[in-house]
Assembly symmetry: C2
Homo-oligomer: 257 residues x 2
């Protein structure tokens, strides 16, 4: 492996126009983020079989401010003339304008964007204007200004720590181990947006969107804290809240050791 | 006129997908903002000839956070059941998601959104990240982080007060009176964006975009303050800076007596 280098990228994308992170087979009309990046990297490196590994799949429509991916190239690819910086700029020039590589660096050979990750942070944006903001419409969910944010904060504390989040995950694609740990949930006002930031050791399929859906129902007075406790204790999908739209969701950061 | 009411709207729109504010003849493929709003108002009121008057035209691609328009309807249109609030909601429901009426109120019969205006404020957003932000790409101009903002501020003070801005306007559509007064130019950092806010008693065609283009050239060290003074004293288009892209420009506010 000494003749190969392991490269780590941090990527930002507007997921609105894509089928999600992963390349999908079949009749999918929209492209995937991963395939767009691979196409450009293959063009730049002339390596037809170059594949990248993402820290995790993001669903169709989900955005990223800090998705991480890594890939291997022969050591000979990096020279004094063709530095990582020039390589990054070259890729950004060729990528569609809704995908950008924010950084590109060499990492240890055993680094894996998914398996080396210890924490992930997602942020969900709620538009709390009286009238939906036209500029945030693709990057937030409009919920109006009548939410009980204190009740949502109280509810969010129930999710902290280790729980079986089976009920807070789509039944379509259930993993065997459904225990996850949530480290932190914060609420922050950014002008007319309410940003809910959730950090955990990992998330099940649709889990962030169902957590936010449950919080929203509490904020609207449609669900009590007792009902949320019950959903955590009795992990069935039907006891948890709705799955909110993907458009307000951002993969914000992936942390490594 | 006692049997007619004069209604004033404040409107926000994402101009990316439109030909501009005004309805244009000919082979224009994109719709205008004005025609979209008129179509919806005609549908709601059943008045085929209802027309609205905007405070001014915004170019193709220019956005608005506070465009103002007014129009007249028979007094009988407003009843206890069909209030302005319900009317506004009705219109917003029918409008495309990139246009929203923020407020709708009755004003004095002699109010005119254009002729009663005393001040207008435009804001231009510059994206100063090292790598362009994918989420701001339609709402700012990417200029990188190497601008000399102090030089731009110094230059902006030259524009304050009354000047003949003929040189800072497109020659295509020149008005007879090219004297305008600029009250205020401010620079504000909003995270990775630099917002340049310009308030004046009115603006010539393309004037804000040329003022920002000139400021940018100063910020990049491509133009001296002496050259800017010369352009103000010798009002010919060729002496002023470039016309920057419409995508970073927002009609922010229109002030009335």
């Amino acid at each position: 492996m000494a003749d190969r280098k392991n490269l780590k990228m941090v990527i930002s994308y507007d997921g609105s126009g894509y089928s999600g992170w992963q390349r999908l087979g079949g009749t999918q009309k929209k492209k995937s983020i991963q395939s767009c990046i691979e196409t450009v990297l293959q063009e730049v490196t002339k390596l037809d079989n170059l594949k990248i590994a993402g820290s995790g799949r993001t669903d169709a429509g989900v955005h990223a401010k800090g998705q991480v991916a890594n890939f291997h190239v022969p050591s000979s690819f990096l020279t004094d003339k063709f530095t990582l910086e020039s390589w990054k700029e070259n890729c950004n020039y060729k990528l569609p304008e809704d995908i950008r590589i924010l950084s590109l660096e060499e990492v240890e050979n055993n680094f894996h964007s998914r398996y080396s990750a210890i924490k992930k942070t997602y942020v969900y944006y709620l538009d709390t204007r009286e009238t939906p903001c036209v500029f945030s419409r693709k990057y937030s969910l409009w919920v109006g200004n009548k939410l009980d944010v204190d009740a949502m904060k109280e509810c969010s504390s129930l999710f902290l720590g280790e729980h079986d989040f089976r009920g807070f995950s789509s039944e379509k694609d259930m993993e065997k181990d459904t225990i996850r740990r949530i480290y932190n949930i914060t609420f922050k006002r950014e002008k007319h947006l309410l940003a809910i930031s959730i950090t955990g050791d990992g998330f099940l399929y649709n889990m962030v969107r169902i957590l936010v859906g449950t919080l929203l129902e509490v904020g609207r007075g449609e669900r009590t804290l007792e009902q949320v406790r019950f959903a955590l204790d009795n992990p069935k999908r039907k006891y948890a809240g709705v799955t909110v739209s993907s458009c307000g969701l951002f993969l914000y950061k992936v942390d490594y050791k």
